[in-house]
């Protein structure tokens, strides 16, 4: 692994010998040292999967941030006269485009406004999980001994809980379920995977020469952890987290579908799919669009994660 992280690790070494002596280039054939990240980036730029998925994600982010740019209606504007009206495919991006649902809401407007909660939950859970799981995994991996034993056993306990069942049990005990409650519920059950990956990765990295070198030079534990270990161990975590992001979005939809996730008046694709299932026989379009939108979003994030993994994982090169 050390060969993947030249710039990262040469830097601290450089400090003590800064005067005069330039660091010898690790590989004389290449003029400029290339990091794992710049390698990965040049790979990614050429990957069609990455370009398509990141374009989709970018669009979703814009929709989530500025739903007003895409539709003039509010998701709670109801007109019963338009009850279950069929889609008008000619009328692009207007409220009647994808038809109306059982409350006289525009399906298209609900799709646009539903993006925010889905993305917000997906991203927040991922960030939280990466942070908490990453930190615990790193501590367990680096210190080993009793710290590792305690953290690993706790991880095992949480890993033993079935993800959705656990989330259901947690959420049922809440009277009102706001976005943050769902984020916390999913994060509480989701951090274990990241912790395990991080622990394994740290164990490999901590035996590397440059970590030994830093130790020998008297660097503090914090410095070693955050300057040397973390940057070199974080790659698999990023991959796992990006792929899991799609899973969290679908978990939110699943919970909302079961009626224990977000509740109206909150707008979410899962909520809309739940409402639409009873109308399936006479108005399938109401179910189709949020379902499609959800699938595309999850697909986009999984493709993105996949592309990042291909670029970062040396074994796949």
């Amino acid at each position: 692994m050390p060969d993947l992280t030249k710039t990262e690790e040469t830097e601290p070494v450089k400090a003590p010998v800064a005067e005069g002596a330039p660091v010898p280039p690790a590989d004389p054939a290449v003029g400029k040292p290339r990091s794992l990240w710049s390698d990965a980036w040049s790979d990614l730029r050429r990957s069609p999967m990455f370009i398509i998925s990141s374009a989709m994600i970018l669009l979703l982010l814009v929709i989530a941030a500025f739903p007003g740019w895409f539709t003039s209606l509010s998701p709670r504007d109801s007109d019963m006269a338009l009850y279950l009206q069929k889609p008008q495919f000619g009328a692009f991006f207007s409220p009647e485009w994808l038809g109306y649902d059982g409350q006289g809401y525009s399906v298209y407007t609900r799709l646009i406004h539903g993006a925010r909660n889905s993305i917000l939950i997906g991203v927040s859970v991922t960030v939280l999980v990466t942070f908490v799981g990453g930190l615990l995994g790193m501590l367990a991996g680096y210190f080993g001994g009793w710290v590792d034993t305690v953290i690993s056993r706790i991880t095992d306990v949480f890993l033993g809980l079935p993800f959705l069942l656990g989330a259901m049990v947690i959420l049922v005990s809440f009277e009102t379920r706001a976005v943050y409650v769902i984020v916390l519920a999913l994060a509480v059950l989701g951090w274990t995977l990241v912790a395990r990956v991080m622990r394994g990765s740290v164990i490999t990295v901590k035996q590397a020469d440059y970590v030994m070198a830093a130790k020998a030079l008297g660097a503090s534990t914090t410095r070693i952890l955050f300057r040397h270990v973390l940057p070199n161990a974080v790659t698999p975590v990023i991959v796992v987290a990006t792929i899991a992001l799609g899973g969290y979005i679908s978990a939110e939809a699943t919970l909302s579908f079961l009626g224990i996730g977000l509740a109206p008046p909150a707008v979410s694709w899962g909520v809309d799919i739940n409402t639409a299932k009873d109308l399936l026989r006479n108005a399938p379009h109401v179910l189709l669009w949020p379902g499609l939108m959800l699938s595309f979003t999850i697909l986009a994030f999984i493709m993105f994660g996949e592309a990042v993994r291909n670029a970062l994982d040396p074994k796949l090169r």
Binding site: S78, L279, N282
Partner: protein, 545 residues
Amino acid sequence: MRGAKSAKWVASAIVVALAATACGGNDSSNDGGKGEVDPNGVFRLTNSEPQGNLQPANSRDTASGQVIKGLFSQLVDYKKDGSAELVYVNAESVETEDNRTWTVKLKKGWKFHDGEEVTSKSFVDAWNWAANIDNNQQNSYWFADIKGYEDVHPSKGKPKAKEMSGLKVVDDHTFTIELTEPVTYFNYKLAYSAWSPLPSKFYDDPKAYGDKPVGNGPYKFVSWERKKKITLERYDEYQGPDKAENGGVELVVYNTLEAQYQAVASEKADVITQIPPRDLPKYRQDFGDRAIDAPMAGVQSIVPVFYGDQWKLGDEKNAKLRQGLSMAIDRKTITDKVLNGSRVPATGFVGPNVLGFQEGVLGEVAEYNPEKAKKTIEDAGGVPGNKVHIQYNADGGHKEWVEAVCNNIRQNTGVECIPDAKVDFQTDLNTRDAKKVKSMYRGGWVLDYPVNVNFMRELYETGADSNTGFFSSKKVDELFKKGDSAADLDGTVKAYQDAEKELVKEMPAIPLWYYSTQAAHSKKVNNVEFDLANFLLMHKVKVVK
């Protein structure tokens, strides 16, 4: 009914409470299955698993209610066509001079299915047993009118007596019932299945009896395969007017309403008594002339709670606010579209097809008028907090219409309206009992007895047990009192009609729509009719060869 908990608030958009019978009737479907009728044909009715056992005074769920209706006949019954005309079944007559002491004469020659004769003792002992607090019967509150009920069913402690002093056996076929206060419509109450007679064998082992009941009704019990089916067979020596026109019934258990629907649609079963919400838009197409719409007597309302700081008693402006909210609701469109025509917009507080029902009592208060709604609310100073919550149970198929009502209120009056879902009906009731409803709750009510009193006294009288909105009005209470002390049934009904008019001024609830029965049957049967509480009149069903 004091001492009883939540007599029969209705859980579901589709009805889940057990209520009184109705007999006779004319409408609903007589077509469908064609061909020669087989008088010994057996049909299959979709049902769910009864909760607990089949002791008649302990049954509150529809599944056991339907079975008990086949196994037992009551003293009286009434017609369901709105005339509520009393029909004598096991009784020769039920008479009174002062509405306080009632004399019951039984028909002679009636026998239980095991051959024991039905006598005065069969009724009196059964009622004493059911009313006794030690026997823990869910329907014991039905006997609360009888003198001496307090002795067998004290609100605290052990019963002081085993028998109610108001019940006296005169001879084998005559007995008298003395009430604590006159009740002009007491004979109608006797139609409810809690008043069933019991054979002496019952007392040997009431629990075992509940698993294998013996009654006096048109059907006798054959077998109960738990969670599969209950089989009933025609009782050939039956003496009553509602003799079965088929050979028997199998009440087959299905776990969901959707599965019941599938079973009947694919001819695996013959009658379904409720159409699941999912299939409401299409069931008329699926079943054609075998789809049934039948009248019921029940009202769906939203009920404000008067213990919070939003709704105030005896405050005219505050009542105007509720009138304004009522005018903001487009009942016609919601019943037509969201509820697929399965409900009828309400125009009063009392359900249809009962004595004293008045059409249009609410007048313009029940008419959709967004401008007037907005103006009325503004003139009355606006809803405190400019926000209302409507609490409902999420397990009863109410979500869609509550949201639609909320959209109406929000868009037409500018008052924010939040649907407040409680996981299930029990949680919803508990929240009501704990006085923790935020603003308003959904309240569905289906008749116990076919008199308008049933829709008012138990809901809006100060301190009434089911008055969980804690409405209280001196004027209304006085009108109720006047009705209770009237000389005859007519006087009672009239006084309560006046009370209903007074309720419009006070708006203790916002009536939304009346319930009705949606059902369907297979090609194998015809003559499928229902009573006013959504129970199938099993004896009328004819099976085609």
